[in-house]
């Protein structure tokens, strides 16, 4: 049905490999073909845009160039990668920036400096996140049809986080403050999707490396709210959100005397369960909070 260039990014080849694995399973089931972008490199994430404007553009631009040469739209399920590539495309609409970045890339790749990164007639590659690729009406119908084991009785809150909704003029969410696209998808799986006010609140992201205290405090707020609305689980499409809520849940419990036991699922994992795959098929044992 669809063929995408697939940009897994560092997380989906590392700490979020269960996201990569479950995505490949459900994409296969839905007839979506994923062709991993050859020789992809890191998008630079928070570290690059916090320290160097040009580097923050050059790193995603290298991948955008590789993707443009495939002629296919690019699926970047990690919302950090998705966001950085969308922002880079937007920033490179400025001719001065574009020229500077193209010169850097050409030189690094050993191409003549004047050669444009993409042919002028070539349209910019379409960059899609997981929710863009699987949340449209056509895919929702296909998802609904693929459900063999509806997730009846499961109460889920959808956690969009920051990067899939902001900046809104660049990532174009269906709503800035109250997005519905993931809610609709999870509802198609038969789960009961609960409303909650923290859909687009921040988990602290990469502060997990240097200021764990902040990430634990933000995680506690999020988990408390999820619990208070009666959720059995939290659903996300973001490896940072997943890591900060799943991997850190034990630390949150220890630090604040809490007793959270809320599984955090990737969207693709719940899709996989509803499509009839088992927990071990989906590598759910990789989660720290079961």
């Amino acid at each position: 049905m669809y063929t995408y260039s697939y940009f897994p990014g560092c997380s989906l080849h590392g700490t979020a490999k269960e996201y990569d694995h479950s995505l490949r399973l459900v994409a296969g089931k839905l007839g979506v073909e994923l062709q991993e972008l050859e020789d992809w490199s890191c998008c630079g994430a928070t570290a690059a845009h916090s320290t160097d404007e040009l580097l923050a553009l050059a790193l995603p631009a290298r991948n955008l160039r590789l993707a443009a040469m495939t002629g296919r739209p690019l699926l970047a399920p990690c919302v950090m990668c998705f966001n950085r590539m969308r922002v880079t495309q937007h920033q490179l609409e400025n001719p001065a920036r574009r020229q500077a970045v193209e010169a850097i890339l050409a030189e690094a790749a050993g191409r003549p400096v004047g050669e444009p990164a993409t042919a002028p007639s070539q349209p910019p590659v379409e960059v899609l996140g997981l929710l863009q690729a699987f949340g449209n009406d056509e895919m929702l119908a296909a998802i609904e049809a693929a459900v063999t084991r509806p997730l009846k009785g499961l109460k889920a809150v959808c956690y969009y986080g920051c990067l899939s909704v902001r900046p809104p003029e660049i990532v174009h969410p269906d709503s800035l403050e109250n997005p519905q696209v993931m809610d609709r998808l999870i509802a198609k799986l038969g789960a009961e999707v609960l409303d909650w006010p923290f859909k687009t609140e921040c988990c602290g992201g990469s502060l997990a490396l240097a200021r764990i205290d902040i990430v634990l405090a933000l995680g506690r707020r999020l988990l408390s709210m999820a619990r208070s609305v009666g959720a059995d689980c939290v659903v996300t499409a973001c490896p940072m959100c997943h890591s900060n809520l799943d991997t850190r849940q034990k630390q949150i419990n220890a630090k604040f005397g809490e007793s959270f036991k809320l599984p955090i699922y990737y969207v693709t994992e719940l899709m996989g369960l509803a499509f009839g795959y088992s927990a071990s098929d989906l590598w759910l044992n990789k989660h720290l909070t079961a």
């Binding site: 560092c10 080849h13 590392g14 700490t15 979020a16 490999k17 020789d39 992809w40 490199s41 890191c42 630079g44 994430a45 928070t46 570290a47 690059a48 845009h49 916090s50 320290t51 160097d52 404007e53 040009l54 580097l55 050059a58 790193l59 290298r62 400025n94 001065a96 920036r97 500077a100 850097i104 890339l105 030189e107 690094a108 790749a109 920051c162 909704v165 902001r166 900046p167 809104p168 800035l176 609140e201 921040c202 602290g204 992201g205 990469s206 502060l207 490396l209 240097a210 200021r211 764990i212 205290d213 902040i214 933000l218 991997t247 850190r248 034990k250 630390q251 044992n285 990789k286 720290l288």
Partner: protein
């Protein structure tokens, strides 16, 4: 350092001009409503509120803004930018202030945050991709907390096969040359 000219000439102090040139954000439009601060998930950990950083930039108080913990604790969630009634890209201002602070060699108020960025980028530079185990090890060595998160988080992740032992890499040298070229401009 390469800077990009704003579309319109900017009046005001040197800091204001530098920040607008780099971020495109019209900081002078801020009327201190505080919406950025109200929605900021990290504000309670900051020394200056985001609103105060905006005011410092308006007033040209570079010392105040560039030495604040705020610029390094900003998680780039962009809630402030999305909600600003004057459509000022507050998060973009934070990025521009970080860049300026680094360019001026200012000792960051949150040195571990900067160290984490450096270690992370070093991994990309060497391998083209982030090697998560190496990043945490590098950070733990740099902060002199060699066993931070090892028992609680690292070990369980390792046992579940979430940590790669062998780093992956993209084409040897190309990404490294991007880093070198960026610094050379």
């Amino acid at each position: 350092m390469l800077t990009f000219k704003a579309d319109q000439p900017v009046a005001g102090n040197a800091l204001l001009r530098a920040i607008q040139e780099q971020s495109g954000a019209r900081v002078q439009d801020c009327y201190q409503c505080g919406k950025c601060t109200a929605g900021c998930p990290v504000s309670s950990f900051m020394d200056l509120m985001p609103r105060q950083v905006m005011r410092a930039v308006q007033l040209g108080q570079a010392d105040l803004a560039l030495h604040s913990s705020t610029i390094w604790l900003c998680a780039s969630c962009e809630t402030c930018s999305a909600r600003c009634p004057m459509e000022i890209d507050v998060a973009g201002v934070m990025d521009a202030l970080r860049h300026l602070a680094l360019a001026r060699g200012i000792q960051p108020a949150e040195k571990n945050v900067v160290l984490a960025h450096r270690v992370f980028l070093e991994s990309i530079k060497r391998l083209g991709r982030v090697y998560e185990v190496g990043v945490v090890a590098g950070l733990n060595l740099g902060t002199l907390h060699p066993f931070a998160n090892v028992v609680d988080v690292g070990l369980p992740m390792f046992l579940r096969g979430k940590l790669n032992i062998i780093p992956e890499r993209a084409t040897r040298g190309e990404v490294k040359r991007i880093f070198v070229n960026v610094k050379g401009t």
